[in-house]
Each structure stands twice: as structure tokens, then as C-alpha cells.
Subunit: 375 residues, 2 copies
């Protein structure tokens, strides 16, 4: 019997690798002859770099970059052992927490730092870049990121615009002649778990602007600027990203990556699964065990359990989820491919007890689930 | 698919029938085409009468009987719909709680009331009597019970002894010529979940006497009296019950029933399973779901989960236990035949939450377990 263990971390309790170890121990108690493959997973957020590096070898690369308000910042991304693939988290150089020490500046904040990390990865040979977005301080449509890769954003006088989303209101043309052949040859994928469009009442400025400190007037200003940006992308023959689901993620960074670099947006967990080789690992599996801190109806979104279940179903592999908490009904997850889900709780327990005892509890419930699977 | 649901009650939360209903609902969610047979179980203690009557039809019969200290008491036993089988709980007429209003009298307390219930059942036609023992106020070796069925306990002068274990010290002979043909034709089985012998340091007087109010001197007196009793049983060609495992149950009542009525002692849950027809129900089952409030290493004793698991294994049927709490390691239960056990806890919960929400939680975990079983 071959069992693949592909869980997310249990936030505040166990890393994905620790979850794998506990589950594997339980699988082996139930089936000492089982071959167990551990494929720690993540959803494009916390833990993604570690999980990518664990699967693909390589190291985290630290780069001197620019933070959302133009200050220097050291930031890390992951480069695979073969140097061909990279994972860049937008939060590393362009995240909101980096600017908590200064007054909010949503109109002028930018994403240059993330572009600098990507440029470094491409310079080192990466031609497959997974950009994990979310948690940005900016609403610049990814203009700062793109500028770091050679795109120029010009006003009516042909002058380059300053950083920040607000300046895009004066955008007259986009010049990408400075984008290198290497960048053009690179496949960009965007891990994006929201479905907000770039502009409008559900867009980047309206929905996420306020949490970045934007006043109602600034939200309106940024929404108008992003509309100018999207119009300019469309005017040069690019896709119409105004209403594209997900384009509004990370202050419109997803829209900019799709519009000007042909990036492919997808769910974070699905992209991570591909990056860590889960589809191949499932090819000859008899069972996959996934998990996350909490499994519920929401897990049918872009989370690890749903991504793993969908991959498993595509290959006819039963999929069991183990979680700290399981909140039904799970009909959507079952429809996606999840065979069954069990909580690691063994009776009345506090949250603290479940967190502290998560490893042995996971081992125990994994043993029981595999016993029932094998019967 | 045919699923048999055979759980104990969840003490303080759900009756066995309620557990069956919740589990059956979960089974049907997972497998709408399943045929589900509900066989509420008990372990010979609380709930046994209801579970027997539910399975076999019939009514509880109320009888005017004698309590442990000779006072009148109304007590009930269960007579099957066909009138051929009865379940008599010793606690009904001879239980310790009945005499909590008077000073303890462990030397003179007796089991006459239980014998009166049995006599009534036999008079009504029962020829298969399950006696559920435990919780007695007496240490009389079942002498009171046997006397109610026609056995005479005589001293050296041929005078009948008074009630109570202490009087057995003067036992010179046993006369069973007054036992009716009907009683002789009756099969007695004793549901007994302790392994204490009748006499000695682990015997009825030494171990259970103190909790019935016996002083050290009374314990010694009762132990000596039970030894005289066991000697007398052996002297007339009966079995040697002195050291028989379980003979010490209920103040030696088990020993007396075995020694003078040829009763067969066995685990309570196993006997109840037979009485409610579980073995037959399992014949064409694909899966049996059992359960109890708590499953742990102790469940490998005479409890419902272990009895059901053993029956299931004998028929090659996978057996899943659902419980409020599951405390591993479960190796002994697995060896007995338990495929897997899961807690109904769905995450951090207090005991009160688990009890209050037991029905929907059971339904949910049953659905998941059957999904995994079917995969």
C-alpha cells in the first residue's frame, strides 16, 4: 500500500512537515508495510517557501529590495535546487506589516520590492516563477513590480510616473520595450485566493483599500486610477482585466501580472501542489491523507484540503482529511473529491490541549482512519 | 449495503436507541441505499431491560417482592413478547440503593427479592432467564434468591437458616427437592463483569463487603460463611465455586447460581447481544457500527464495544466504534476485532457541549466513517 501524506500546517501548532511525521507514524501503526510519501503542503501563504524548498531543494535567497514606501528592506524568496523555479511571496518585500511604523500611504505605496525579488530570480535562471500574493500595503495594480522588470508607465508628456497607485490616474501609455528576453521567456503564475475584480464596488480599492488606510476619497481616487491602468492595458491589446475574477488581489497586482506578463492566476494551494510535485506523487497512490487546522465549508475555496482532494479525485485516489476541527456540512468538499474528514479531538478538550497534543492525537486518528480504509 | 448499528447508551447523554437513530441518519447520508438495522445494546447494567424489550417485544412486569432487609418492594423485570425469556436485574429488588435509608446490615441482607422476580418469570413461562447482577446489598451467595426458587438451607438440626450471608456459617446441608420442574428446566445465564472468586482475599466479602458496610470482623465472618456454603455445594456433587472467576459477583450470587442452578456466567454485553439477537443480525451485514460514551483500554473487558467487535470478527464483519471519547492505545480492542474507533468530538469542545450536541455530532462522524468504509 502506498500512502501520500499532503497536509497544510496546523497554524499555531504544527508545521506541515510535523503533521506529515505524525500522520506517517499513525499510518505505519495501521499498516506497517505501507510506503508513506510525505509531501508537506501550503496554500500560498505562510509556510509556502519552506514547503517548496523541502520538495525542490535549493535555498532561500536574500535580496536588498525596496519596501512599499521606498525604504530599503532585506527580503527572501525561494529558488529551487535546479535554479529553474522560484517562489516569491509579495508579503516579503511589499507587505502591509513592513510599513506599520509609518503613517498609511495607500495612494503612493508600491510593489517595487516584489519586482526586485522576481528580477533577481530571473537573473539567476528561474523561468518558472510562482508569485504568492496577498497582504500588500499598496493599490498600484502591480505597477511597481512591473517597473522593476522593465515596464515603463508614462504620462501624456512621456515622463515616467512616480510610484504608487494614485499616479496611474495620469497614465497615458505603457512601454514594455525594456522588458528583458529572460523575463519574457518566464512563466509567471499567481497564487490568488480572492475573486475580486480589479475595479468597481468589489474591486481592489473598494474592498481592500480601507484596510490599508485609504479614506473614502482615496478609495475613489485609486479606483479611478486602476480603471485608467486597466484601460491602458486593454488599449495596447492586452486582456481586459477590469472585471477579471481575482485581478483585484493584492491591490490589483494580480491584474497587472495577468495584463502585462501573461501571468496565470490560480488557487494558491493548487499551484503549490504542482510546485511541490504532488500530482506525480499521487500517480500510484492508494490513499492520500491531507489536513489543515480546520476543515469546513470554506475549505472548498482555495485551501489545501480542497486542492488535494481535487487532485486525488482526478486520479481515483481516496482522500482523507484530518483536522483540528471539522465543521460540517462537508457536501461541497465531498463533491470536490474528499472521501472523509475526521477531527483529531479524542473527546472533550480545550483548544490549548488540542494544539499541545496535536502530534500524538493526529497519529492516533490517522491510525484509525487507515485501519478503516484497509479493513 | 447492510449496516447494523449496535451501540450502548451514551451515559448522561443519549439512550442506545437515540444513538442508533443518530448513527443511522449518518449512515444514510453516506449511503442512501444502505439497509440499516438498529440493535440498541446494553452491558447488563442500566438500559438492559429497555434494550431487551425493544428487541424481543413484551413488557416490564412489576412484582411485589422483598428488599435486601426483608421489607416489601415493587420491582420490575422484563418478559419477552413470546413469554419464553426474561431479564432480571438483581439491582431491582436486591440493590444497595434500596437500603440506603437504614443502617447497613451486610451480614443479614439477602437476595430473596431477585429470586421472587425469577420465580414469577418462570411461573409465567420463561425458560431462559438472564440474571444481570451487580450492585447488591448482600453477601449471601445468592442463598435468598435460591430459597425463593425452592432450595432449603438447613443447619445441623435440619432447621432452615434465616436470611443473610452470616447464617451460612451454620449451613449443614442443602435440600433442593422443593425446586420445581419448571425451574429445573430453565436455562439461567448470569451477566457478570467481575472476575473475583467467591472466597479468599479477592472474594465477595473481602473486596465488596466493605462498600456494603461490612467491618473487618464482618468481612471475616462472611468469608468464612461463604466458604461453608461453597463446601456444602461441593459436598453434594456440585461444582467447586470457591475459586471460580466471577463467582464472587454480587455478594457471591453468581457462585450460588452456578453451584446450585447450573447457571452459566458470561460477560454482560455478550449475553445481552445474544438476548437481543445481534448474532443473527450480523449474519449478512457488511458493516457494524457500535459505540459507547467512552472507548478505551478498559473497553476490552465486558463492555458493549468489545462484545460487538468480537461477534463481528467471528463473522468477518468490519466493526467501527463511535464514542464521546476515545482513549488509546486500542491495541487490545483491535485484537478483539475492532476495526477503528472515532470520537464524535469535532474540535475543541467541553464535555457539556459534547453531551448536548451528541446526536448531530454522531450523525456527522458516522457519515464520515461510512464514506471512508465505502470510499
Amino acid at each position: 500500500m502506498r500512502v501520500v501524506v499532503a497536509p497544510d500546517s496546523f497554524k499555531g501548532s504544527l508545521s506541515a512537515a510535523e503533521v506529515c511525521a505524525a500522520v506517517a507514524a499513525g499510518v505505519r501503526r495501521a499498516a506497517p508495510d505501507a510506503r508513506v510519501a510525505a509531501v508537506p503542503m501550503a496554500d500560498g501563504g505562510e509556510g509556502t517557501l519552506d514547503c517548496f524548498l523541502g520538495a525542490r531543494g535549493g535555498d532561500a535567497v536574500e535580496v536588498a529590495a525596496t519596501d512599499p514606501v521606498g525604504r530599503p528592506v532585506k527580503a527572501r524568496y525561494a529558488l529551487s535546487g535546479d535554479g529553474r523555479s522560484a517562489v516569491v511571496e509579495l508579503a516579503a518585500a511589499s507587505g502591509l506589516p513592513l510599513v506599520e511604523d509609518v503613517p498609511p500611504d495607500p495612494v503612493n505605496a508600491g510593489t517595487a520590492g516584489t519586482g526586485e525579488l522576481i528580477a533577481d530570480a530571473v537573473r539567476r535562471g528561474a523561468r518558472d516563477v510562482l508569485v504568492c500574493i496577498g497582504g500588500s500595503a499598496s493599490t498600484d495594480g502591480g505597477a511597481g513590480l512591473l517597473r522593476a522588470l522593465g515596464v515603463r508607465f508614462l504620462d501624456a508628456e512621456g515622463e515616467e510616473l512616480p510610484p504608487g497607485g494614485g499616479a496611474l490616474a495620469r497614465l497615458a501609455s505603457i512601454d514594455d520595450s525594456g522588458v528583458s528576453e529572460e523575463v519574457r521567456a518566464t512563466r509567471f503564475r499567481v497564487a490568488c485566493d480572492v475573486t475580486n475584480p480589479l475595479v468597481g464596488p468589489d474591486g481592489a480599492a473598494a474592498v481592500f483599500g480601507p484596510q490599508k488606510g485609504a479614506s473614502p476619497a482615496e478609495v475613489a481616487e485609486l479606483d479611478a486610477a486602476l480603471t485608467v491602468f486597466a484601460d491602458a492595458v486593454a488599449a495596447r491589446g492586452g486582456p481586459r482585466v477590469h472585471d477579471l475574477p481575482g485581478a483585484g488581489a493584492a491591490g490589483g497586482t494580480c491584474g497587472g501580472l495577468v495584463g502585462l506578463l501573461g501571468a496565470e492566476p490560480s488557487g494558491g494551494a493548487a499551484l503549490v501542489a504542482e510546485a511541490v510535485g504532488l500530482p506525480a506523487a499521487l500517480e500510484d497512490a492508494d490513499l492520500v491523507v491531507t489536513g489543515e487546522g480546520r476543515v469546513d465549508g470554506q475549505s472548498a475555496g482555495g485551501k489545501v484540503v480542497s486542492a488535494v482532494a481535487a487532485l486525488a479525485r482526478g486520479r481515483g485516489v481516496p482522500c482523507v482529511a484530518l483536522a483540528g476541527g471539522v465543521a460540517g456540512p462537508l457536501d461541497e468538499l465531498h463533491a470536490l473529491g474528499l472521501t472523509a474528514a475526521f477531527s483529531l479531538a479524542d473527546g472533550p478538550r480545550t483548544l490549548e490541549e488540542l494544539k499541545a497534543g496535536a502530534a500524538p492525537l493526529l497519529e492516533a486518528v490517522a491510525e484509525q482512519a487507515v485501519r478503516l480504509f484497509r479493513r
